[in-house]
């Protein structure tokens, strides 16, 4: 097997790479990402959704609050393109605000938990032995405590417990452990590779090896876990809101909207489908973007694709 892998240095392959020789690493990664069509389309869609969520409210007459000018239970018409809710909200206004809050929560959770979790997991995996055992027991504690119970206990009893940032931090606190476990597993096999020993032999310190070698090589699983976490965070936030522990009315999130509309799927479909579809879109696009990132960061994978 070893030497049999055809090297792309051969003549025919070199045409595309000759120009590649002048680019920096970052440029190459960007170029690879741009070539990944599903990821590019998803990125565009996600940007549109983000624009809708964050800029939309400045251009739309109604916000997410109840207004006495709004008739309740109206199907979509020209004044309210997505209709109105039973309490007298403009669904479009609610949708904008909901998407905004959901995006904020989901992305914050994903970023914080992934950053912390992968550092934790990589450190445990790299040192191994007793350090690993201790660090992973901490992870176990976070994995076995039912997050809903803990979140309920925390968010119900803290000041400002229902703002989006608190919710995000609480959810992150209970999701980094999964990432840590995944990353540790990958690092356990990576650290036996010779290039890690090579770095040690040239005098690299432990943080250097973890950040420059282990984490980049674990990028694939990390990105997959991070994108999954986005979906999980959205669902968890929706669950929390539903249980009255998450974002509270009059503020709104997509999960909460779906929860509110769940009894009216057939009678008032306009209150159910828009947040539902948007939620699925956000999860899907982030997954595709994750795929694209993973491929762009992996020097080998794209070579095969093309």
């Amino acid at each position: 097997m070893s030497n049999g892998t055809p090297t792309t240095t051969a003549r025919a392959g070199s045409k595309a790479q000759r120009s590649a020789a002048d680019r920096t690493q970052l440029q190459t990664i960007v170029l690879r990402f741009v070539r990944h069509r599903p990821a590019m389309i998803s990125l565009f869609v996600l940007l549109v959704i983000a624009g809708f969520a964050f800029l939309g409210p400045f251009f739309w007459t109604w916000d997410h609050r109840v207004s006495s000018d709004i008739l309740s239970n109206q199907p979509p018409d020209s004044a309210h393109p997505l209709g109105t809710s039973s309490a007298g909200h403009d669904v479009l206004g609610q949708l904008m605000r909901g998407a905004q809050q959901t995006l904020k929560v989901a992305l914050t959770v994903s970023l914080c938990a992934t950053a912390f979790g992968s550092l934790w997991g990589a450190t445990a995996g790299y040192y191994g032995g007793r350090t690993d055992a201790m660090m992973m027991r901490v992870v176990d504690v976070f994995l076995i405590v039912p997050p809903l119970v803990a979140v309920a206990a925390l968010s119900g009893n803290t000041a400002g417990g229902t703002t989006w940032s608190t919710i995000a931090i609480i959810i992150a606190l209970f999701s980094w452990a999964q990432i840590a476990r995944v990353v540790r597993g990958v690092v356990l096999s990576l650290r036996e590779q010779e290039f890690i020993e090579a770095a040690k032999a040239s005098g690299a310190s432990a943080p250097w090896i973890i950040i420059r070698h282990l984490l980049p090589n674990a990028a694939g699983p990390i990105i997959v876990a991070a994108t999954l976490l986005v979906a999980i965070a959205i669902l968890m936030e929706a669950g929390l809101s539903f249980l009255q522990f998450g974002i509270q009315l009059p503020d709104i999130s997509l999960g909460q909207m779906i929860g509110e509309a769940r009894t009216a799927v057939s009678t008032r479909p306009w209150t159910f489908y828009p947040p539902g579809v948007l939620l699925v879109l956000i999860c899907l696009t982030i997954n595709f973007i994750g795929d694209g990132l993973r491929d762009a960061l992996d020097p080998k994978q794209t070579m095969v694709r093309r």
């Binding site: 055809p6 240095t9 051969a10 090579a198 032999a201 040239s202």
Partner: protein, 738 residues
């Protein structure tokens, strides 16, 4: 192309009568996203009953795919064309049920890796019986009986006990012999052995080859021996076919091909091989460039881009396999002489009798330096300028005073604890990887550490660099002790002590560009701020790579090129000592020579000291000034290279030297052998007294009972024989082997 087909049809006619296996114009193509990959092209050969045919080639030359195609073991997406006839019957494209009748019964196959070709959950006896029962319904008892016989044939001691054991209880060599026993279970007519000894140590390899020969004698089967090792071919087969780029480029009787090659590739392969039986001052002559990629097969002759004789014709027209007559005419092989010496080269008549590979390929080196510096041709091109210099200087470099001792190890001991399972993890024993090794590495010297796998040579190398913590003993670098230094205290010393790893695929971070990889040590040590880029280019040039390729990733390079990157990284801090841990053992022969030459040149140029860890005595003989032979964690003999190879004193060294197959058919078959039996004992429980006594031929044959007692009781010390030659044997005696 027409001549090609003609020659094929004619060989068929010739072979029909007596051939047992005929392969005719076999083509194997793998469809892929990048177009189809022609793995095997127009391979034809005929095998007569009882004959042994060797197929040699580098990795990717299609030698394994050919045999898999014959056995019908290729994945479904492979497109196989041509014909394979077994005793006149077509077996290519047979339905699954029909081919099952052929496999095992008529054609048996032995795979490379004995660790994975046996099922770990069944006993040895069950697996051999299963093979017997698959084709002969003789009943379980008889099958078991037969299994016992088979184990005896392949030379496994106490077969009754072995039959009840599971594969993991047997050593690699033992397992490979079990695989051979399975292969001969049904008296096949043809045995195909695909690199049967590549994964094994040399002394074990000798035992397995012996088992293979007795299997042949027993069953009268014809043998197809696929290997990359020219030495193995020279001793084991009568006829050899050389494959390159998916085609057979030369074939004929083994003496003909080895002594009078008609194709530059075969000549080049022989020239790039370090020889145990030749003077070490001789510089290797590597073939420039790398084997062709299947995705971009060159037009015309596949070897043309690397061939020093290539002309325009070679790049346009693919040569057919032709026979050269005594009068210099080249004709397609006649019916009736299927075994004739044929070669696929337009200019094979120019390879006159007695041409030396170094003449042909060294000229080529010089040309490459000036001409095309394409990515593939670059590496060996850079070897050229220093070539002459190195050859002459080596002779002149005499002992001018006593050179300074750089790295000194005293009584190194490394035990890896074996812990009990369960919660407490109590220590229940020690794997004694290194027990009392003392070494001295002097300035500008190459010290080789030789031994079979598991003898502790790599651990010793890592102990010297303080990459593994010592159990006891001491290492000092220029008088400064290294043991007990923290990572931080060690860092400044790391500049002087660098390492190159065995596996060029695992030792480079796949996520970093080559420039980043080479610059990393400089970043860590904060040297050359800003100048790193320039330095990377210098280094790439120094190791014979195109300096413009810095922004590429490791996977875009071939094995040899990657190993050069590893060397460049090690050199980036201007070290004084380079530890080379099996630096060429993962490389193909034609590539290996280029890396060895590079290492020699760098030593001359930069005044480096090498600690060269290797299992390959031929390479060691070529590159080292002094050699230390290790066995089970101890040094058993140390001497200058000349002393060691001319007058080995320790029985283990003697056995090691005589187990290495020489790429010379006549010498290989006639030389005297010192055979070692059995396998290396476990380092967790080494034998008392002399650790080699359990396998020692002297102990077994020549010694009297009281003398043996001494070997069992007393650990032999490493004693001086004179002029620095030391060995650890109570009854050592010099033997001349080469």
């Amino acid at each position: 192309m027409t001549t090609e087909n003609m020659s094929n049809t004619e060989t068929d006619v010739a072979a029909h009568g007596d051939a047992i296996l005929e392969v005719d114009a076999l083509d194997v193509t793998f469809p892929s996203d990048d177009g189809s990959l022609p793995a095997v092209r127009e391979v034809s050969y005929a095998l007569r009953p009882g004959e042994a045919l060797g197929i040699v080639g580098e990795s990717g030359s299609g030698k394994s795919v050919t045999s898999m195609a014959i056995m019908g073991l290729l994945p479904k997406n492979a497109q196989v064309e041509g014909s394979v006839r077994l005793m006149g019957e077509e077996i290519l494209g047979l339905p699954d049920k029909a081919i099952s009748q052929v496999r095992g019964k008529k054609v048996a196959m032995i795979f490379q890796d004995p660790l994975t070709s046996l099922n770990p959950v069944y006993t040895i006896g069950f697996q051999i019986s299963e093979a017997v029962l698959a084709h002969n319904d003789v009943g379980k008892k008889k099958a078991w009986e037969r299994s016992r016989e088979l184990l005896e044939v392949v030379g496994i001691p106490s077969p009754d006990q072995r039959l009840r054991q599971y594969p993991h209880e047997l050593s690699g060599g033992m397992r490979q012999r079990v695989v051979i026993a399975i292969a001969m279970a049904n008296d096949p007519d043809v045995i195909i052995a695909d690199e049967p000894t590549t994964a094994l140590d040399v002394t074990v390899q000798a035992q397995v080859l012996e088992a293979l020969q007795s299997a042949r004698r027993e069953t009268g089967a014809a043998l197809v021996l696929i290997t990359h090792d020219l030495g193995v071919v020279a001793g084991q087969v009568e006829r050899v076919a050389v494959m390159y780029g998916g085609r057979i480029v030369e074939s004929g009787p083994v003496e003909e091909v080895f002594y009078r090659p008609r194709m530059p590739y075969a000549l080049g392969l022989l020239g790039s091989l370090p020889r145990l039986d030749e003077d070490r001052a001789e510089r290797l002559s590597p073939i420039r460039g790398a084997p062709p990629s299947l995705m971009a097969m060159p037009q015309g002759c596949a070897f043309a881009p690397r061939c020093p004789m290539a002309r325009d014709l070679c790049h346009t027209e693919e040569p057919g396999l032709l026979r050269t007559l005594d009068n210099g005419d080249r004709v397609p092989p006649q019916p009736g002489d299927a075994i004739a010496h044929v070669a696929a080269c337009h200019f094979s008549d120019e390879l006159s009798e007695g041409i030396r590979p170094e003449n042909l390929f060294r000229d080529a080196d010089a040309d490459a330096g000036t001409g095309n510096a394409g990515p593939v041709a670059a590496p060996s091109g850079a070897d050229a300028p220093a070539a002459e210099a190195a050859g002459s200087e080596r002779a002149e470099r005499g002992p001018v005073g006593e050179p300074e001792v750089l790295l000194k190890a005293e009584d190194l001991v490394k035990n890896f604890p074996i812990r009990s399972k369960g919660l407490l993890k109590r220590k229940v024993g020690d794997v004694q990887a290194v027990s009392g090794v003392s070494l001295e590495l002097r300035e500008r010297e190459t010290l080789a550490l030789v031994g079979e796998s598991g003898c502790g040579k790599s651990t010793t190398a890592r102990l010297l660099l303080n990459l593994v913590r010592l159990t006891s003993g001491g290492v000092s670098y220029m008088g400064k002790p290294l043991q007990g230094l923290s990572d931080k205290q060690m860092r400044p010393l790391r500049r002087d002590l660098q390492i190159v790893f065995q596996d060029p695929f695992a030792s480079l971070d796949p996520r970093m560009t080559v420039a980043d990889i080479i610059a990393e040590p400089m970043l860590i040590h904060r040297t050359r701020n800003g100048g790193a880029k320039k330095r990377v280019k210098e280094l790439l040039e120094l190791v014979g790579l195109n300096p413009e390729h810095g922004s590429r990733y490791p996977h875009e390079f071939s094995g040899g090129q990657r190993q050069r990157i590893g060397v460049a990284r090690a050199l980036s801090l201007n070290p004084k000592v380079l530890v080379l841990d099996e630096p060429v053992s993962a490389l193909d022969v034609s590539i290996q020579a280029g890396v060895i030459n590079l290492l020699e040149d760098l030593q001359e140029e930069l005044g480096l000291s090498y600690l060269f860890v290797s299992h390959d005595l031929s390479v060691v003989k070529h590159i080292a000034d002094r050699v230390a032979v290790m066995y089970l964690g101890k040094i058993v003999e140390t001497a200058t290279t000349d002393q060691l190879f001319e007058a080995p004193a320790h029985p283990y060294t003697q056995a090691l030297i005589s187990a290495i197959p020489l790429p010379d058919p006549v010498k290989e078959r006639t030389r005297e052998r010192i055979v070692v039996t059995g396998d290396v004992p476990s380092p967790a429980d080494p034998p008392s007294g002399c650790r080699f006594r359990t396998r020692c031929p002297k102990f077994a044959r020549d010694l009297s009972e009281p003398e043996r007692e001494k070997c069992v009781q007393e650990v032999p010390g490493l004693l001086e024989r004179g002029s620095g030659h030391r060995d650890a044997c109570h009854y050592s005696e010099v033997v001349e082997l080469l």
